[in-house]
């Protein structure tokens, strides 16, 4: 909220400077968001006297003025304003001054060949009004040479952010009260203009919804003259950023901005019958003051007469019965609405207003009569008219909260010692009553006070948070204990292992375009936002690959030769009780060039499925997975090339990873150029490591040296090399400690439908070296094992 210093001083007797006031506002929790000081804006503009005015020799619409600036020789100024003439007084911007309206820096210049030493300004140029038909004309007694800001009156405007718990500070008076408590001055009593009410209110006022509208006070004023507001009122509203409209509207706004008290004025001529606060009927409509029509429902409170709805209660008045220039008789409404219902209505209608902001946070239940009298008095004083007696339907909440307070809590919770007398003074200056035994009665306007902690906050914020000294948290004895969970250690280690293998860690959005999420979806329904910020950020990712694929595509579009990206994050699935199941995952995308063309390697090389496999295994090992026991199986998913992808499993069911080349149709869907390899590690599937001791088992290298034997088999072309390896491995579980494929060949010399697979078998002798007969027996078992898979030893 914004207000001028003058407005604040209507309520606060103070000698504090603007900067002292701002410091105090920040200190008590009314954050200063900005200070606009017109004196700064108007620096370099001064009052000048036009001595002569003559036609510009080369331009019909320009005049050449000589201007007395109060010092030195008169200056020559070229001016285009039709009202510029000898003898007038106006405002001159000197070279160096910045025109507030457009930021232009004034310079000495030549305009159509005539030297000009400044600019005579219009009100619009100085942002003092809309007038741009001519330059500002000042009265004859305006002192020539004086800085215009001094003459015009410099009234700094302060903007503060009022937190939602403090509707009592959503009026200048409330802010003054807080500042007075802080010691910045004295709170002045509200000046209530006197008036004489006569006669009963001619309109019946009722509340038919005691829950939604507990209190509806009103009064009629007849015979008012609406018109423009006086200067003081206009200035105050403008400082708050409100455009003055007409006296009656401006006065209700003044009551709201000055005292946090929304009110409404109806044109009595437009009303028929009783004016009633009630629930809206389903489908009932009202054209509001913002010229939009709102469709209402029975959860909403309205003010209506016999014929129609005139007000969305507490939020916005209706166009039909709003006051206009011609209004002579008004019905004033001061009501108390249930804050929760106002909030719900506003949200449902998507309608914000200054009134709603205050009502939904809670206005002062004790300021209905005073507010009504203040508004009535101001109307009578400024617009004339004859007020009726007030009518009061219902009553606002009146039960004050009493908090049993222990002033010692200020030290125990707030960490600062404040003498009890000072605590009492602070609370009382904010309107609390401190009774016997620290029974503290809260003012009704302080809806935010719930218990002793809130009172500590009041005391501490006024006393000063800067007085709270730092106190070290107690430490455990000795060195800090490790805190990371196994899952956290796994992710941290994996992240650095992935980066160490040459991958760049990316962080991509958790949400995807729906098509991209669907492309990678499992059989579960996706999590799709009801109110996405855009179609590109709508469905929660079921895989880390789409986000990385999109990043790789962006990089390729930017001309990057390749992307090696990984991300560690969550995939979002359906869990128990309608909640989510968020699975920690590592995704990798390898796109573009693996190696650039080179003098050694020739052409640039693309990534292949074995690059993906190598990374998958290397990182699974880094994550502590038992990689020696993993099985390479299929079903990586339809997003992968069916012949160049696989899963790594621990047993047939537990999938630890999938990897391979991305399917061409997936590349097409993502508009990405292939080939692209991808890996996904499912971190939640990795079995946790048993709590091992620090000490490793003893180091016992075999006493005898291992020997190796090579075998080349002709096997069916479709046989997986891994099957052959596993079979050979099983031929002699004791002696064979390793089987490694070192050659695969098909083509010349190998029959059609076959391939040659050569393996190196490592044999580890135990107690005694192998004899020739031993080796021969093992070799026979190896050959037999291969034969089971259709393999025959090559000659």
């Amino acid at each position: 909220m914004k207000f001028s210093l003058t407005w604040l001083k209507d309520h606060l007797e103070t000698t504090a400077t603007v900067s002292e006031i701002c410091d105090a506002l920040n200190a008590i929790g009314l954050e200063v968001e900005g200070v606009e000081d017109p004196a700064e804006k108007l620096a370099g503009f001064r009052i000048a006297h036009v001595l002569t005015a003559a036609r510009h020799p080369d331009a019909d619409k320009l005049q050449v003025l000589t201007v007395d600036t109060g010092e030195g020789q008169p200056l020559q100024v070229v001016c285009g304003a039709p009202n510029a003439r000898a003898g007038m007084k106006g405002v001159l911007g000197l070279p160096g001054a910045v025109v507030p309206a457009n930021g232009m820096v004034l310079r000495k210049s030549a305009i159509r060949g005539v030297e000009s030493n400044g600019m005579m300004c219009s009100t619009r140029e100085l942002e003092l009004g809309e007038d741009h038909d001519g330059i500002i004309e000042l009265p004859d007694d305006a002192p020539v040479g004086t800085a215009f800001s001094d003459y015009h009156g410099s009234d700094p405007v302060i903007e503060v952010a009022v937190t939602p718990n403090r509707p009592d500070c959503m009026g200048v008076y409330g802010i003054a009260r807080d500042l007075a408590a802080k010691g910045l001055g004295t709170l002045k009593p509200i000046a209530m203009p006197a008036f004489t009410a006569s006669g009963a209110c001619p309109v019946e006022i009722r509340t038919d919804d005691a829950q939604g509208c507990p209190a509806f006070y009103g009064r009629v004023v007849k015979g008012v003259r609406n018109g423009p507001s006086p200067e003081w009122l206009q200035q105050r509203l403008k400082s708050a950023g409100q455009r003055p409209i007409s006296l009656l509207v401006d006065l209700t706004n003044y009551l709201m901005l000055g005292f946090g008290r929304p009110a409404h004025a109806y044109d009595l001529a437009k009303l028929q019958g009783a004016v009633v606060a009630r629930r809206a009927q389903d489908g009932e409509e009202v054209l509001a003051l913002n010229e939009k029509t709102y469709r209402l429902d029975p959860e909403m409170v309205v003010i209506a007469d016999d014929t129609q709805v005139h007000d969305i209660a507490g939020i916005m008045g209706g166009e039909h019965s709003g006051v206009s220039e011609g209004t002579t008789d008004v019905l004033l409404e001061i009501a108390y609405f249930d804050p929760a219902r106002i909030g719900a209505t506003g949200r449902k209608l998507g309608l914000s207003s200054d009134a709603r902001t205050r009502f939904e946070r809670g206005v002062d239940p004790e300021f209905l009569d005073a507010g009504l009298d203040l508004l009535t008095g101001l109307i009578v004083e400024l617009a004339g008219g004859q007020p009726s007696e007030a009518v009061r339907a219902g009553s606002p909440p009146s039960q004050a909260k009493v908090v049993a307070f222990d002033p010692g809590l200020t030290t125990r919770l707030g960490g600062v010692e404040v003498p009890e007398g000072e605590q009492k003074r602070i609370l009382e200056s904010l309107g609390f009553t401190v009774g016997e035994g620290w029974q503290v009665t809260c003012p009704l306007r302080r809806h935010d006070i719930e218990g002793p902690a809130d009172l500590v906050e009041e005391v501490v914020r006024i006393h000063g948070l800067d007085k709270v000294a730092s106190v070290a948290l107690p430490r455990v004895e000795g060195v800090a204990r490790p805190t990371a969970t196994p899952q956290q250690r796994l992710e941290r280690g994996l992240r650095r292992a992935a980066a160490a293998s040459g991958l760049n860690e990316a962080v991509t959005w958790s949400f995807l375009p729906t098509w991209a999420a669907e492309h990678f979806a499992s059989d579960q329904p996706l999590w799709v936002l009801a109110n996405p910020i855009s179609e590109d950020m709508k469905a929660m990712r079921p895989s880390l690959l789409p986000g990385l694929l999109m990043a790789a595509k962006r990089n390729a579009d930017r001309g990057a030769p390749g992307s090696r990206l990984f991300e560690i994050g969550r995939r979002y699935f359906r869990g128990a009780n309608g909640l989510s199941d968020e699975k920690p995952t590592l995704g990798i995308v390898l796109a573009g060039e693996k190696t650039p063309r080179g003098w050694q390697s020739g052409k640039a090389q693309a990534f292949d499925a074995y690059d993906a496999k190598a990374l998958a295994l290397q990182l699974l090992e880094a994550a502590g997975a038992p990689v020696a026991n993993l099985m390479v199986m299929g079903e990586a998913g339809p997003q992968f090339h069916p012949g160049q992808s696989a899963t790594l499993r621990l047993g047939p069911k537990v999938v630890l990873a999938r990897f391979g080349m991305v399917h061409p149709s997936t590349l097409k869907a993502f508009d990405a150029d292939g080939p692209i390899a991808a890996v996904e590690l499912f971190l939640d599937a990795i079995p946790p490591k048993k709590n091992a001791a620090f000490a490793r088992p003893g180091f016992t290298p075999p006493a005898l040296q291992a020997v190796t034997r090579d075998f080349a088999f002709l096997v069916p072309a479709t046989l997986a090399a891994g099957d052959l390896v596993r079979s050979v491995q099983g031929a002699d579980k004791v002696a064979i400690t390793g089987v490694r494929v070192f050659d695969v060949f098909a083509g010349q010399g190998v029959p059609e439908g076959k391939k040659s697979v050569a393996v190196e078998v490592t044999l580890q002798p135990g107690e005694a070296s192998f004899k020739d007969a031993d080796l021969k027996a093992i070799a026979e078992k190896v050959v037999a094992a291969a034969a089971k898979l259709g393999g025959e030893l090559r000659g």
Partner: protein, 366 residues
């Protein structure tokens, strides 16, 4: 006699003239080989009388020694020359480029999260986590924001059309504070945790992204007060920025889940167009910058977490991880965090070996 001498001289000359190992070997066979004349001469010694042998032996043995020595020396010289020639042939152009191993990097957000974990571990805080798809009870209600609370509307919440089986709204968590509630319920008190993670607000402009990272901190114990909160944040920022001149300004504020509530500002100065944290915000050339919200835990929140507010007190704070990362490491565009551009990741990312440790300093210098 003269015969041996002249044959020896001739052999030595031939050895000296040998241009290859093969030629040298031929000469060896000619002289010292089984059928070589030196060997044959040596054999004749066996048939001589002792007197004859004494007279003839020195010349023959001398011839053998001289020839053997010459052969050895020539062989070494020829081998050295051959090696030299071979090495000359093997010369490569080492100005040619070598194959570069690709360099990977750790994202600044992860790096800063590791730094947070390291610093707070020293202060006794564990790291807690919770779901990002939350129910509105954990995200709002338990944090003292019931359905009608105006602060709910200020959170720009992303909702799902789904409901939990007990009818709660489901949303993307708007802050990491629901982890407070989960941690209290799971672990009870006393407790010290931080909870870093992704959070979401339907807000997008130059300085806001709909997804960003926050870290929540929470301490619950007996006798915890605002002074402890202030010390903890000061101590953290000093360790994080590795500067002793960190000055914090606490301002009263409002968060439904804390009471009293405190906004935390840090003093900074502008150096070369960049915000540099440090110094008093009111000092010349300095100003204050908001870093996050904090406060003493609202008794209602403690109760929602199953703790007795009469027994336990605590504080909580929330900081923007992306923001403190930007302040420390000099990034100026939040959107680039989530783009996956390898150039940016290489520029602002970290070596995998920059694992934050207290002994080496948690930060990694450029």
């Amino acid at each position: 006699m003269t015969d041996i001498t002249s044959r020896t001289e001739a052999a030595l000359a031939a050895i000296a003239a040998a241009s290859s190992l093969d030629a040298l070997e031929a000469e060896r066979l000619e002289t010292l080989g089984k059928k070589g004349w030196v060997s044959l001469e040596l054999k004749t010694l066996g048939g001589m009388s002792p007197e004859e042998r004494t007279a003839a032996a020195p010349a023959i043995q001398s011839a053998r020694a001289r020839i053997a020595e010459a052969l050895e020396a020539k062989k070494a010289a020829l081998e050295a020359a051959a090696l030299e020639e071979q090495l000359a042939r093997e010369t490569v152009d080492l100005t040619l480029p070598a194959v570069a191993a690709p360099k990977g990097s750790v994202h600044p957000v992860s790096q800063v999260m590791d730094e947070l974990a390291e610093i707070f571990a020293d202060l006794g805080f564990a790291v807690a986590t919770g779901p990002e798809i939350e129910d509105d009870w954990h995200n709002f209600t338990a944090l003292n924001m019931d359905e009608t609370h105006p602060a709910r509307a200020m959170h720009d919440t992303f909702y799902f059309p789904d409901k939990t089986t007990d009818g709660k709204d489901i949303l993307l968590r708007t802050h990491t504070s629901p982890v407070q509630v989960r941690a209290m319920i799971q672990q009870g008190a006393p407790i010290r945790v931080i909870a870093p993670g992704r959070v979401y607000r339907s807000d997008s402009d130059a300085t806001h992204t709909p997804m960003f990272h926050q870290v929540e901190g929470m301490v619950i114990d007996k006798g915890i007060h605002l002074g402890h909160l202030k010390w903890t944040l000061e101590t953290f920022f000093k360790a994080f920025f590795e500067r002793e001149d960190i000055v914090l300004r606490l301002r009263p504020s409002y968060f439904p889940f804390t009471e009293p509530s405190v906004e935390v500002d840090v003093g900074y100065s502008n150096e070369g167009g960049r915000r540099v944290v440090g110094g008093h915000g009111d000092a010349p050339g300095h100003a204050w910058m908001e870093l996050g919200g904090s406060g003493m835990m609202n008794p209602r929140v403690l109760a929602a977490g199953g703790l007795d507010p009469a027994e336990w007190q605590g504080f909580a704070f929330g900081l923007g991880i992306d923001r403190i990362a930007m302040l420390k490491y000099g990034m100026n565009d939040l959107r680039a965090f989530f783009d996956g551009d390898p150039r940016w990741l290489q520029h602002y990312g970290f070596s995998p070996f920059d694992q934050p440790t207290l002994s080496a300093g948690v930060g990694a210098r450029a």
